[in-house]
């Protein structure tokens, strides 16, 4: 058990390090010097000494390997440096914003997984029934509708037509609940289709028919014998859904005006503010690696046939 845990942790750390290193090198190798972008932004025609001074202050004058090691050490010890653009500490900025993003992303994922699993079960229980129709409609809508546009329409209906929410108020409902629901809604459909596929496979199996012959109800037999298969197919298809949830969180934050991390990152993109971009990439990579390794671990535990 401990050996397995060490292996999982090792793999997690390794894939995280690979992604973070690649992103760091990519960001630093590309043309476009953040110092020049910054100086153009503040509209100062600076001489060589000032540029050099800024480069030294931001640690851009050292070799890439040194920069990377210094950054990595700082990231791990929660010393994330200062923003190139505003000069404020990045860690404090993230600490204020992360709760929103984490609540939306994590809440959205939990809602989508549990809701999708339940919907998938009922869709498989009665193919062609209301649950099946709903899951199909959600799956198609999730692929064909732009999420940000749906969010806007949602604001229009709830805020203007029905006047249920205060669009510009920014309370808990507007800033956390609605974005979370939006993120979950767009993932719910395909998650329920995945789950349904797992359950439907079980319905064709001899042990399911045996359970029915022994007098179990359809729903009972499907739940008892099918839930592991449902979970397994859901987990197997989790990667693309997870990438949506991260992108969807960013979109939802922007549409609903949530003061989360993604909003800050979009701003940082325009200013080449690497000090903001790097911790963001590192956090996203950590989150993806954690969920993927967790899913892998769960699969092994549920399916002893896997190596």
């Amino acid at each position: 058990m401990t050996a397995a845990a060490v292996q999982v942790l090792g793999r997690l750390a390794l894939s995280w390090l690979a992604v973070v290193t690649a992103a760091f090198v990519l960001l630093r190798l590309m043309p476009g010097d953040p110092v020049e972008v910054f100086l153009a932004q503040v509209n100062v025609g600076a001489g060589h000494e000032i540029v050099a001074a800024y480069r030294a202050q931001w640690g851009l004058d050292e070799p890439i390997a040194t920069q990377f090691l210094r950054w990595l050490g700082g990231f791990v010890t929660l010393d994330w440096g200062v923003s190139f653009e505003t000069g404020r500490p990045v860690a404090a900025d993230f600490a204020a914003r992360l709760p929103y993003s984490a609540a939306i992303g994590f809440g959205g994922m939990v809602l989508a997984v549990t809701g999708g699993f339940a919907l998938g079960f009922f869709a498989a229980h009665r193919p062609g029934g209301p649950a099946d129709m709903l899951s199909r409609v959600l799956a198609v809508a999730g692929q064909a509708l732009p999420a940000f546009a749906t969010g806007l329409v949602l604001l229009w209906i709830l805020g203007v037509q029905l006047r249920w929410i205060d669009v510009f108020g920014g309370g808990f409902i507007e800033r956390v609940l609605l974005p979370t629901l939006l993120v979950a809604l767009f993932s719910l459909g395909s998650m329920s289709r995945l789950t349904r596929a797992g359950f439907v496979e079980v319905k064709g199996s001899p042990y399911y028919r045996t359970a029915l012959a022994k007098g179990r109800s359809q729903a009972g037999a499907l739940w008892h014998h099918g839930r592991a298969a449902g979970v397994l197919t859901l987990i197997a298809g989790l990667a693309p859904e997870l990438t949506w949830i991260i992108g969807g969180t960013a979109v939802a934050e922007i549409v609903f005006g949530v003061p989360g991390v993604s909003e800050r990152v979009v701003q940082a993109v325009n200013h080449r503010d690497y000090a903001i971009l790097q911790p963001y990439i590192a956090l996203v990579a950590l989150w993806v690696a954690l969920v993927m390794q967790g899913a892998r671990f769960l699969r092994r535990t549920l399916d002893p046939r896997l190596p």
Binding site: L27, F148, A149, L155, Y274, L277
Partner: protein, 264 residues
Amino acid sequence: MIRGALLIAGFGVAASAVLWAAGYLQDPHAIDLSNRLTAPSAAHPLGTDHLGRDLATRLVWGAAPSLLVVAIVLAGGLGLGLLAGGIIALAPSPLRDAVHWLAVTALAVPTLVAALVLSAILGAGVLTVSAALLVTSWAPYALTIAALFDRIRGEVYWQASEALGATVPSAVRRHMLPNAWPALGALAGADAGRAVILVASLGFIGLSADTGQPEWGAMIHEYRMFLFTEPRLVLAPILACTFVTALLHGMLDRGSSLLRPRGS
């Protein structure tokens, strides 16, 4: 294969027809302040926006960036995917494992994050959006093709073609691709839809090529303050986006079933 190329060519012709038709419509930038926010009429089928620009014209012009990205992403994703899938299936161990790891990792890269990072590096634009989509979109093709290779190599007809001395490229064309099209077509349909939506999403957050150019996402962003008073300005680009996504899905999925080998 030939029919696949024809499909893509037909798509290109349709895209240029849209552009050609757009030339015959009005100027999407023509500002007419005396006709601001007019209701739909004969002269302006969808009415005008807050600067008196014709909404229908801007809608048609707005298709251009989306269709360009779709074309680049489909061609690039299929090409890279075929190459990487071939490597995973046929290459010796270290290279094969490396490419396989890369494909599995690429699957977990959030497209929007890739787009944000690439915009920081390359600047916003149609090519940046295409590159961001390509970062992940090649991987499903590669894995599908590699799995198919593994399966087909056990088939008698593949061994027969090997025994007859067929070269790998011709065997791939004859035996592999016809089997691969249905799955690849479904993937391509999803990819094309994702491309349209990502272009609009990036346009909405202000990272499309040029905010002055008509582009659906940028239009939704520009008109969002009229959501409460003139919803048609916002709903029109949303519907255009949804319609094209659904169309691409249907076209490529059905295209793949048209391309399915006879008798299967």
